[in-house]
């Protein structure tokens, strides 16, 4: 800042004028100049000049301009004040949180990425995971579906271990479920990717660390911010089912004729449907006492909502004086589900955060934090796959849904007898009765966290900090499967049969879960910065954590009435379950950083870590790491480049971390070294009806059981050029996970399962880059383009699989490989079938219209071989489901008070084999419905170039949909994740109505996408995911939504 001027007498009204320039000396147009504490203000003209009358010479002027630092200047009696505004903090001075301390980005030697709160603001995201997706290169976030209760899966730098694994997520230093906190409370998210950055977290940080810091009180006066956002969410539902019942009948008939020789529907029925369609016949009829529906039900569209509301409210207050600061926030989110029904799903989140800091004296300060997070969910009980959202793939357009309102039923005049049933639902494949009358699955999850911290600065350069946090988590879960009533059959000849469908055995299941966790940290940091050429920082600390989880589950059958869904109001058999576990961690850690002449950077990190999950002698491990950096641009020989090269740094790091978390079957194993005795009760031992308890022998645990170890190597380049317009970093890395636990085979005579041993290795290699370009065009425009791009691949490097069985891992296997047949095409004639290799091993009755597989091994037979590497039959690797080239792109544009932000996210390369399970939507005739593409893309003699083989019921025979190259899907995509157009209300206007600032915005999420994947699949909702380990049946689930929002934010 430069301020010059001439002086007048203080105390009188006076005029101040001057020029506002950029730091490059160009005049800035439209800079707001305000007298502090008043609504008196102006803006600069085309020459950057302003002229403002102030009350007296003591006034303070505030200069603010988008993209520049706001400055306050005391007039101090001057008439002329010229000022140069500095651009917002440059990326080099940015401070990065590295765990037990911070580092200037310029001095960073490990692989760390950071984003600030701005990236999460003004977006209609329901959770933090949704907001972070794609922002940070190689922070891979997968979200299985649109359900806000289903948390995102977080991953750093690719596949972790064959036993799973995940990054350590800390919110203000305490492990917490990121999905439960309020995105608006986040100040920054820092991702520690390599061993060097994560080493201070030792045995939990093998797969990276996500550090989330919440907001604090900022200096200045008390600032109150109120924001509200109203959204409408529309499910992305790509099914395009036939709307003409005759098309449906014809399509199903052709499939049935191919299978069994007979049409699925009789001629009479078809004629009646045609007659109703042409307006010459009734919609309903009763034939031999059976109700016949000839109409069209439009089921899919009546189940999915057009728009579901979503609201967000946030209130925060913050402020600070020289002695104390505070930040208080309350937030609320309310989101309705995807169902077009008054009993729609609903999700609510409430968040409260209170943070205070007191500077007791010049060497002691105290800080406190209280956080409360609550999630509430209410959704219909899951009775069966046949009667939930997947009915959209199962209900045919000609299926009767509700009991009709007819003039008469069996005989004229019997309407009164059937009147009570009108509008009631028919039983099979119908979500509606379960939604209308069925029980609800509800939960209420509450977190309470308390932190007390103390910071001492007893000596110059020394900082000692201690903090203790205590968190409790409680979940109240209740699942009520109450009885519903449906009409079991369309046969009403002997009266209407009322039944309970899938709700025959009604029950209530309740779970009460209570978890406690505490974290204690103490560390001291000593900085020596007075020495010329040497900067030394040393940190040493101690961390101790303890957790205890417990749950009680009770289930009782037979509700007295669905109106009172409580255990107390049941009369049937009851069961109770429970469980407890506890675990502890303790470690000492250090960080030593040394910089010579600000050019040569060296850092050593490490932790001596102990865990309760291993036996006494194996409990502790030492995990050191090292990193070096060279700020090339600071060298003397680079002096010639200063005018365009702002900074250039090379980094390298190496380190090994342990992984204390062992996962088995998706669950953490808390006592892997202790084998426990099974218990049971034997029903048939000495007399019928009596049960005798027994205890069975404990299984085996390998005496050599030890940690998985993860070695990571990283090499990186950071550079900033062209007067800080372009800022980029590139990292290349490898991460080897060694000694993964695997099953080994021992002779059966052992009498029990062989203990798992540390016998497998894998290696993940990849790279990532982050590029930011920001600039201004002329006076009013500024823009920003950022790119986050990453890629990785994982290969198994050690695994005991002597037979090379493809059902297991094998050495050289790339994770995500898809083995399948190569498709030649579709047989066009019987002659082609006869001339080709026989496919009898995978099906029978091959005809024109069936799939022609390639005889890769030339043995004249299409077979899966022995399913081994040496004999895979006619199969080969036809794709890989690893998400490659993940990217996120921000394109932001600012014009005066308007700002347009767009965020695009996608995957550059990924193969996907869609679910071929029965009742899943993709493969034609694999479920009960018929989509338009079933008809247009199915092979017939007239449609020989069709994508899919001749119509056949894939529920009966999978011979045409064996895993093969023809139907493997390209699941790469680009999706417009966010668009926000916001307008800052003019300063002069907001001052006039007594506000400090105001902003109005419209925003959209998931507005557009492009993908080569075949409808109705969504490239983000895949049923298998190598990173999250997800592998479900592939049925339709809660869809992802396009969300349209309007938001208003005011501060005063």
């Amino acid at each position: 800042m430069v301020a010059t001027g001439s002086y007048a007498n203080e105390g009188d009204a006076m005029t101040v004028s001057g020029k506002v320039l950029s730091d490059g000396g160009e005049p800035l147009i439209g800079v707001t100049v305000l007298e502090e504490g008043t609504s008196n203000g102006t803006v600069t003209d085309f020459d950057g000049a302003y002229n403002l009358s102030v009350d007296d010479g003591d006034a303070v002027l505030i200069f603010s301009y988008t993209g520049y630092k706001t400055q306050s200047i005391a007039v101090a009696g001057r008439n002329v004040i010229d000022i140069a505004l500095d651009v917002e903090i440059s990326s080099l001075e940015q401070v990065v949180v590295t765990g037990y301390g911070t580092t200037k980005k310029a001095n960073l030697t490990g692989a760390v990425s950071a984003i600030s709160s701005e990236e999460l603001e003004r977006r209609p995201i329901a959770s933090v995971g949704m907001g972070l997706q794609g922002l940070i290169p190689n922070l891979n976030i997968s979200i299985r579906n649109g359900d806000p209760t289903r948390g995102a899966d977080f991953n750093i730098r690719g596949y972790e271990s064959i036993n799973g694994g995940s990054p350590l997520i800390l919110v203000d230093g305490v492990p917490m479920d990121l999905e439960r906190i309020n995105p608006n409370d986040i100040a920054s998210v820092n991702v520690l990717k390599d061993a060097s950055a994560a080493a201070v977290y030792g045995a939990r940080a093998a797969f990276g660390v996500i550090l989330v810091e919440t907001k604090k009180g900022k200096s200045g006066k008390i600032n109150i911010n109120l924001s509200t956002e109203m959204s409408a969410a529309r499910p992305i539902f790509n099914m395009d089912v036939v709307t003409d019942p005759l098309d449906f009948i014809e399509a199903r008939n052709s499939a049935n004729i191919r299978g069994s020789g007979n049409p699925a529907y009789t001629e009479t029925f078809t004629d009646a449907v045609r007659a109703f369609k042409n307006g010459t016949g009734p919609e309903w009829d009763v034939v031999d006492g059976v109700l016949q529906f000839y109409g069209f039900n439009n089921y899919q569209n009546s189940l999915m909502t057009d728009y579901a509301p979503q609201q967000k409210y946030d209130l925060s207050a913050s402020g600070s004086t020289d002695r104390a600061s505070f930040y208080v926030s309350f937030g609320m989110l309310n989101k309705d589900g995807y169902l077009n029904h008054e009993n729609n799903e609903n999700f609510k989140r409430y968040n409260g955060l209170i943070k205070t800091e007191f500077k007791v004296n010049d060497w002691l300060s105290l800080d406190e934090k209280v956080v409360f997070n609550s999630q509430q969910s209410d959704k219909p009980h899951f009775y069966n796959w046949d009667v939930n959202v997947n009915t959209v793939a199962r209900v045919s357009p000609i299926q009767a849904i509700t009991f009709p309102d007819l003039d008469h039923y069996l005989v004229p005049g019997d309407r009164a007898e059937f009147e009570p049933f009108i509008g009631k639902h028919f039983a099979s494949l119908n979500f509606f009765p379960y939604l209308e009358q069925g029980g609800r699955e509800t939960f209420n999850k509450n977190d309470i966290g308390l932190t007390q911290g103390i910071t001492l600065t007893p000596l110059r350069g020394l900082k000692v900090r201690g903090d203790i946090s205590y968190n409790t988590y409680h979940q109240d879960y209740q699942d009520v499967a109450s009885k519903i009533e449906v009409i079991e059959s369309q046969d009403i000849g002997s009266g209407v049969q009322i039944g309970n469908g899938f709700s025959g055995s009604d029950f209530i299941n309740t779970i009460s879960e209570y978890n406690q966790y505490y974290v204690f940290n103490a560390y001291g940091e000593y900085t020596i910065d007075q020495l010329p050429n040497h900067d030394i920082k040393a940190m040493v600390g101690f961390n101790q954590e303890w957790g205890r989880n417990q749950f009680i589950r009770a289930q009782a059958n037979t509700l007295i009435t669905p109106q009172v869904p409580d255990l107390n109001a049941t009369t049937g058999s009851q069961q109770t379950f429970g469980g407890k576990e506890h675990f502890a961690l303790r470690g000492m850690f250090y960080r030593l950083s040394y910089a010579f002449k600000d050019r040569y950077l060296f850092e050593a990190n490490g932790r001596y870590d102990g865990t309760s999950r291993f036996p006494k002698d194996d409990r502790y491990g030492f995990f050191p790491s090292f990193s070096v950096g060279w700020r090339v641009s600071e060298e003397g020989f680079m002096s010639g480049t200063r005018d365009w090269l702002d900074a250039l740094k090379l980094r390298a790091s190496y380190g090994t971390l342990g992984n204390q978390i062992l996962v088995s079957g998706g669950n953490q194993v808390y006592y892997p070294y202790i084998s426990t005795l099974g218990i049971g009760s034997s029903p048939y031992m000495f007399r019928a009806g009596a049960f005798s308890p027994f205890v069975s022998p404990a299984g085996l645990v390998s005496p050599t059981l030890t940690w998985e170890s993860v070695t990571s190597k990283n090499f990186g380049v950071d550079f900033t050029v062209l007067n800080q317009r372009l800022d980029a970093s590139f990292d290349i890395y490898s991460r080897e996970t060694k000694d993964m636990l695997t099953n080994v085979e021992l002779p059966a005579i052992l009498g029990t399962n062989a203990p798992k041993t540390n016998a497998a290795d894998l290696k993940t290699t990849g790279w990532e880059t982050a590029v930011t370009w920001r600039d201004r065009i002329g006076k009013d425009w500024s823009y920003r383009v950022t790119l986050a791009l990453s890629d990785w691949q994982t290969e198994i490097t050690k695994y005991d699989n002597p037979t090379g069985a493809l059902s297991e891992y094998y050495v050289g296997q790339k994770i995500g490989e898809i083995w399948g047949y190569e498709t030649v095409g579709i047989f066009q004639t019987q002659a082609e079938v006869d001339a080709s290799a026989t496919q009898s091993a995978i099906g029978a009755n091959w005809r024109a219209g069936d799939v022609h597989y390639a005889d890769l091994n030339g043995d004249g037979k299409i077979t899966p071989g022995s399913n081994t590497l040496t004999n895979p039959g006619d199969r080969k690797i036809i794709g890989n489901s690893t998400p490659r080239l993940s990217y996120g792109v921000n394109l932001d544009l600012n014009y005066k008070s308007f700002s347009l932000r767009t965020f695009w996210q996608g995957i550059g390369k990924r193969d996907y084999w869609p679910s071929d399970n029965n009742w899943t939507p993709f493969f034609p005739f694999n479920a009960g419905h018929v989509e338009k593409y079933f008809i247009t893309e199915t092979w017939t003699e007239e449609n020989r170039d069709a994508y899919f083989p001749a119509a056949h019921f894939s529920t009966n025979t999978k011979q045409n949909i064996q895993v093969q190259s023809r139907y493997i899907q390209d699941a790469s995509y680009i999706r417009l994740k966010n668009v926000t157009l916001s307008y800052d209300l003019p300063q002069l206007l907001v001052k006039k109505i007594g506000l400090a600032g105001g902003q109005i915005y419209v925003s959209g999420m998931n507005l557009w996408e492009a993908s080569k994947i075949h409808d109705p699949l969504d490239p983000e909702q895949l049923h298998q995911n190598v990173l999250s380990g997800e592998n479900f049946n592939g049925a339709q689930e809660y869809p992802i939504q396009r969300i349209y929002s309007l938001g208003l934010s005011i501060s005063f």
Binding site: L456, R586, Y671, P693, V695, P697, E745, P747
Partner: protein, 176 residues
């Protein structure tokens, strides 16, 4: 001076919280029985031996010594009635009996895999032997008089002898 004193006092308290006991990381399961917490009373031995009766009674697929017929559909598969199919006394044609026919006609190949499924005709049930051996290794941990312990050890030995007698009678020999 007072200031300095309170500084050190606070540092001292921070360090105090750090110093700790060695048992902090010793966490045994809270909701399951482990060997460390079992084998104390006579009841422990009794419910442990119940597992042997349980296996013998209901798991006659693996432990066919009692012909308990209580394991549903599978229970007859390795029973003495089926084993008669090795002879020509009965010769059912149902596919479920193919394995016996193959032995009879000399076509049966001994499975190379030692896994459970590879073994037909009841050459399995080693979990039963292991349960007995684990028991015999641990009974003496209980602080009971030897007569009581011997009673349970005796039951276990009877079962082990019975099991091996069955194996030897069917297969001629068994690994010991």
């Amino acid at each position: 001076m007072k200031n300095i004193f309170s500084k050190y006092l606070i540092v001292f308290f921070v360090l105090l919280a750090v110093s700790c006991n060695d048992d902090f990381l010793e966490r045994l399961p809270l909701d399951e029985i482990s060997s460390e917490t079992f084998w104390n009373t006579e009841n422990d031995l009794k419910v442990y031996n119940n597992t042997l009766y349980h296996l013998a009674a209901v798991d006659d697929n693996n432990v066919p010594i009692m012909m308990g017929h209580d394991d549903g559909f599978e229970s007859l598969k390795y029973g003495i009635w089926y084993i008669d199919e090795f002879s020509d006394n009965i010769a059912p044609r149902h596919s479920r009996h193919t394995q016996y026919q193959q032995v009879r006609s000399g076509k049966h190949t001994v499975p190379s895999s030692s896994a459970g499924d590879g073994q037909w005709f009841g050459y399995k049930g080693w979990n039963f032997v292991r349960a007995i051996n684990v028991g015999l290794d641990n009974y003496n941990k209980a602080s009971l008089d030897q007569t009581t312990i011997d009673k349970y050890a005796g039951e276990a030995r009877l079962f082990r002898g019975w099991f091996f007698a069955d194996k030897v009678s069917k297969f001629g020999d068994a690994p010991w």
